[in-house]
Amino acid sequence: MRSINIEDVFRAEAGRALATLIRLVGDFEYAEDALQDAFAAALAQWPVEGIPHNARAWLVEVGRRKAIDRIRRQTSWQHKQRELLTEAMIEAQAAEDADEQIVADDMLRLIFTCCHPALNVEAQVALTLRAVCGLANGEIARAFLVGEETMAQRLVRAKAKIRAARIPYETPDAAMLDERVDGVLATIYLVFTEGYAPTAGGELMREDLSREAIRLGRLLLQLMPQRASVQGLLALMLLHDARRNARATPEGEIIRLEDQDRSLWNRVQIAEGAALVEQALQSPGAPSPYAVQAAIAALHAQADSWIETDWRQIAGLYDVLLRLQPSPVIALNHAAAISMVDGPQAALNLVDSLAAREKLSGYHLLPAVRADLLVKLKRNDEAKAAYREAIALAKLAPERRWLEKRLKVLG
C-alpha cells in the first residue's frame, strides 16, 4: 500500500479525468456525476487494493461505465439519443485515454469551455476552479466570500447554459484562437488577483487562489508552450507571488515594496519568472501586456534595493504598457515611476491631469498616490486631506490601517 493520500490523487487527477469524460459522455453534468461515482468507487476499493498504477485511466474507465449505467436508467432522455450515446461510449477505447496528447487536448477543450465568453466572468471563474482545478463548491464559495448555495446556483446555471445553448466542447479554430486565449488568460489572472489583492474582506492575501491560478498558468503553458502571452502571464504571477512572504507583517499589516525585506523573496520563483519574461519578449510581434507587466515586476524583483531599482526602464515599460492597454491604474503606476526619475512635482502633474481627464472617483489609489507625492513636496496639509480621502475609499481593512498610519505620522 502506497502512502499517497487518496484525496491528493483526486485533486491531481480530477481535471484531466473530467476533461476526458466530458468528451466521452458528451455532456458536462453527466461527466461530473460519473466522476463522482468513480471517486466513490475508488474510496471503497483503493484502501483495500491499493491505488492503481494509472489512477486517472482507472477513474475514467470506471466513470465511463457508471455513466453508461446512469444514461440507461435515464428515462427523460429521448430514446434514440440515449441509445446512440451509450453505443458510442461502449465503443470508446479506454486505452486511448492513456495517450498523453489526447488527454492534453481534452484538458484544453475543458479550459476553453469553462472560459467561454458566452458565460459571465463569475461563472467562468467558478467553473474553471471547479472543473479544471477540482476545488469543491464550498472552497470556491469561501474564496469568493459568497454563500455555498449562491456558488452552487452559479455553477448549475453555467452548466445549464453550456447544455442549452450548446457551447461547444472544442478548442477554437485558428481564426478565433488568439481572442479566446486572451479570454482564458483574463480569467486566470482574475483568480490570481483575487488571491493576491482581494477586492474585499479582512485579509490582505488569499494564498489558495493565487496558488490555483499559478497552477492553471503552468498547465496552460504545458498545453500551449510557445505562446508568448501565456509565458507572460505565468511570469507575472510567479514574480508577484515571489514577494508574498515580505508583503505583510505577521499581524497582517501591509509592508510596501520599498520597505520589504528582500531576503524574504522567493529567489527560485523570481529566476523562473525572469526566464519566462525573456522568452515572452523575444517572440515576434507586439508584446503581450502581461509580458510587459512581468518585465516591470522582474526589474523590481532583481533590484538590490528600492533606490537601486532601474526606474528609468520601469517608467519606459509603463509607457509601452499605456500604449498597449491604456488604463487609469497603469497611468497611476507610470506616475509613481516618474516620481523616481523626474521627481515628485513631475509625477504630481501627471496624477492631477489624470484626475482631470478620467473618471476615477471611488478609486482609493489615486488620492493615496497623490498624498505620497504631496508629502515628498512637503505640502503636508494637502497630503493629509488626500490621505483622508483615500481612507474613506479603501475597501480592505489592512489598506485603511496603513493609510491611517501614514496620516498619523504627519501629525
Partner: protein
Amino acid sequence: MQYLLLIYSNEAEYAARPQAEVAATMSEYGQFTQSIIQNGNYKGGERLRPVAMATTVRVRNGKTLTTDGPFAETREQLGGYYLIDAKNLDEATAIAARIPGARHGCVEVRPVWAMGEA
C-alpha cells in the same frame, strides 16, 4: 440545432441615416441572406416594422386588453430576426457577427427550446 438571432438597433438613429447608406445596408443584408441560404444555415428571417407600428395584447380575467406600442420601452428596438440552423453556439455567434446590423446595433443569440427537450 436552431437559434433565433434577434437584431436590435436604435430606430431613431437608423431612421436618420442618409438614403445612400440605408440602400447600401439593404444590399448587404441581401448578400448576407443569400450566403446563409447557400450554406444551409437559413431557416427563416424577416425585417420588422418600427415599434410605432406595434400593438401589445394581454388577456386578463378572460378580457383582451389591446394597447398601442411595444411591451417595453428600450433604447434599442427589435428590428428583425433570422432563424438559423448551426452546429453549436460558436457557429451561431460567428453567423450573428456577419449580420450588418451587428455593426451599429446588437444581435441577441437565443437557442430554440425544442418541443420535448428538457
